[in-house]
């Protein structure tokens, strides 16, 4: 019983992290550190909130992906187009995203008071599989976005290593000079990779709204964009590894449920809130990411 709730919470928490981290994985493979991912996530969350009341949960999800892609496009114009430093422009984009969504939210839905509520995906149990002991309910009784992830992860892994497009992305991240020599447009590849990362991050934000909370709160992305970057390092820039890394972080966040079920209630809950961030620091410190990173990562 205890383990069931813990596993379910793990998968649920890992889903948005995995979306964001997979997106960041692709953009980093193309050599760009998208620190503006957080901005894409919150934009996706807000976009989903606005669209879901009109178009339902599915429409909200798609709108979130689009919103995230738009923010990433702004970032791309700055970094790929104007060659501004990636870190600075990413930070600015994140601040912009948080500020604009906060402003629009308060303007459209009022300052506090009325609780906003959007339609959400309900959990869809897969017949037979969801009855498996222990993992059945956790893995196969989740809302639709999680199932989308089950498809995207192996697809992305296949795409990255078995298609020309995936090879182009990896080439650009390893050696832009060599890529240009073989006729690949570095700028175009980076631009598209960033759009993809933005769309994925937008889906992460949308998941938070239309598949989990059913509402919007300012700053609800809560640093997931930065945690996603850490997950990419942990997963060694490989899609399967990144997905597993997201799972690990989901477990770290879900730990509070385990503790509660075990009766350890006198631990302040802020400790559990802070845990993913501390975990991120530990991962970045210990994972010797320098060796596995794309060689031209972060280069202008």
């Amino acid at each position: 019983m205890i383990v069931d709730a813990f596993l379910e919470a793990t998968i649920r928490t890992a889903t948005p992290l995995a979306f964001a981290a997979l997106g960041e994985c692709v953009s980093q493979r193309a050599g760009i550190i998208n620190i503006g991912l957080e901005g894409s996530i919150i934009a996706g969350a807000f976009g989903a909130t606005v669209a879901a009341s009109v178009l339902g949960a599915e429409g909200g999800f798609v709108a979130g992906a689009l919103a995230g892609a738009v923010v990433a496009m702004l970032f791309a114009i700055l970094t790929v187009g104007a060659r501004v430093d990636q870190i600075i422009s990413g930070t600015a984009i994140t601040l912009l995203g948080l500020g604009v969504t906060g402003t629009l939210y308060r303007t459209m839905f009022g300052v506090g008071g009325v609780a906003l509520s959007t339609p959400t995906f309900s959990a869809i149990p897969v017949p037979f599989l969801s009855d498996l002991p222990l993992v059945g309910a956790a893995l196969f009784a989740q809302p639709a976005p999680t199932y989308l992830l089950y498809v995207v992860v192996p697809l992305l892994a296949w795409w990255m290593y078995r298609t020309h497009a995936g090879l182009a992305v990896r080439a650009v991240g390893e050696s832009p000079v060599a890529a240009i020599a073989s006729g690949i447009s570095v700028r175009r590849v980076q631009f598209v990779s960033l759009l993809f990362s933005g769309a994925m991050a937008g889906m992460a934000g949308a998941t938070l709204v239309v598949a989990q909370t059913g509402t919007f709160a300012e700053g609800m992305s809560a640093g997931r964009g930065f945690i996603a970057i850490s997950i990419v390092v942990l997963g060694r820039w490989k899609p399967i590894g990144v997905a597993l890394g997201a799972l690990l972080f989901g477990a770290a966040s879900a730990l509070q449920y385990l503790f509660q079920s075990l009766g350890l209630t006198n631990v302040p809950y802020q400790l559990f809130l802070a845990l993913p961030y501390v975990f991120t620091l530990l991962v970045l410190a210990t994972a010797s990411g320098r060796v596995a990173a794309p060689a031209a990562l972060g280069r202008k």
Binding site: D85, L96, T103, R106, V111, S230, Q270, Y277, A285
Partner: protein, 367 residues
């Protein structure tokens, strides 16, 4: 490195037609004007009465002497500290985005000290306690920065991510403190008990809210400016920021040590800012203690082109924007989170402007 050589205003460039100071002022005014334009557009899009809102903003910032001194300048003080913290770090090429968390740590430490001494009461002169509060705040800020500094120096963790993570950790620590050990005695609100009047920073003149913290802020910033521009230690900082490899090999500067020291100094400044804000303005610690000072400070520093004297002025500018936004919310119903939009827009414009300028100079010099 990443920033310094583009950020720092170089006087007397071959192609400059105006003195560097004037050019900086002009570009500052252009940037502010464009940002106000963006703000106006956002206001119109969201259905607000833009002219009324903007008028309310200007009135709120500088409408009368009280508004200017007791609201705008008061809000500028933590931005001076945090802006100086960010500017100093950026000068060495260290992207300290953690001023927010370091500031919170400083405020929390000062509040903790205040709560301890209250139970010891008499015996210790109030002035000494205040000094200790500021010192403890500075230390707490340095400690928070030290975590990121060590992660950077020993483990190669990018400071942008580690400092942002620490911001969230600090936020949660404050959340825990104000609901636990530091909560006010009635245990109703998540905030610390009010600082007794004897321990509050004195105001500059009766009836004002402007406290001596502003003198500390200006004094510290000017001293820093002098150190950075005129003293050997500051020169090493600038050298490391401009070209770490050259500084290490040709200059034989211990780049790692300088980087860590600057990082700690940055933390000291932000922590001090938090303690000053606690002892001079808020008199209590609570969850939303910092409305994003650490992030606004990035814009403060960038807009000042990392010049510490200019930081005082850009901090006042942002204090004005903050005060104006508060008035805008009261009088025109515009949510004051719109400030972050202005801040972010300014950052984007500053970096874009610098990019264009570099390209322009490169073209003119024919390289």
């Amino acid at each position: 490195m990443i920033l310094s050589n583009t950020m720092v205003g170089k006087g007397g460039r071959r192609t400059a037609q105006w003195p560097a100071g004037v050019a900086t002022m002009v570009r500052l005014m252009i940037l502010v004007a464009v940002s106000m334009g963006v703000l106006a557009a956002l206001l119109v899009v969201t259905g607000h009465d833009a002219p009324q809102a903007l008028r309310a903003m200007v009135r709120g910032a500088a409408g009368n002497w009280y508004q200017f001194s007791s609201v705008t300048i008061v809000r500028a003080v933590p931005l001076m500290f945090a802006g100086a913290a960010v500017a100093v770090a950026f000068r060495a090429g260290i992207l300290n985005i953690g001023a927010e968390g370091q500031l919170l740590a400083g405020a929390a430490a000062a509040a903790a000290l205040a709560s301890i001494t209250s139970s010891v009461t008499a015996g210790i002169p109030a002035a000494l306690v205040v000094l200790l509060m500021l010192a403890v705040g500075a230390f707490a800020g340095a400690f928070t920065a030290a975590i990121a500094a060590v992660l950077r120096h020993r483990f190669g963790v990018q400071e942008v991510i580690s400092t942002i993570m620490l911001n969230f950790v600090a936020l949660n620590v404050v959340g825990y403190l104000v609901r636990g050990p530091l909560q006010e005695p009635l245990r109703i609100y998540p905030q610390s008990p009010s600082l007794p009047a004897a321990l509050q920073l004195p105001v500059l003149w009766p009836g004002s809210r402007l406290h001596i913290g502003v003198l500390i802020a200006i004094g510290v910033t000017v001293a820093l400016w002098y150190w950075i521009t005129r003293m050997a230690g500051g020169f090493r900082v600038r050298a490391v920021g401009l070209n770490a490899a050259a500084a290490q090999s040709a200059g034989r500067i211990d780049v790692g040590k300088v980087g860590t020291q600057v990082f700690l100094l940055s933390g000291v400044l932000a922590g001090l800012g938090g303690a000053v804000e606690y002892a001079g303005t808020t008199y209590a610690l609570y969850e939303n203690f910092s409305p994003g000072y650490g992030y606004t400070a990035i814009a403060v520093a960038l807009l000042a082109r990392l010049n510490l004297l200019a930081v005082v002025f850009t901090a006042i500018l942002f204090g004005a924007i903050d005060a104006g936004a508060g008035a805008m919310q009261r009088d025109a119903g515009v949510p004051n989170v719109v400030v972050s939009v202005i801040v972010a827009t300014l950052i984007v414009l500053v970096v874009l402007g610098d990019r264009l300028e570099r390209r322009q100079t490169t073209l003119e010099q024919g390289t």
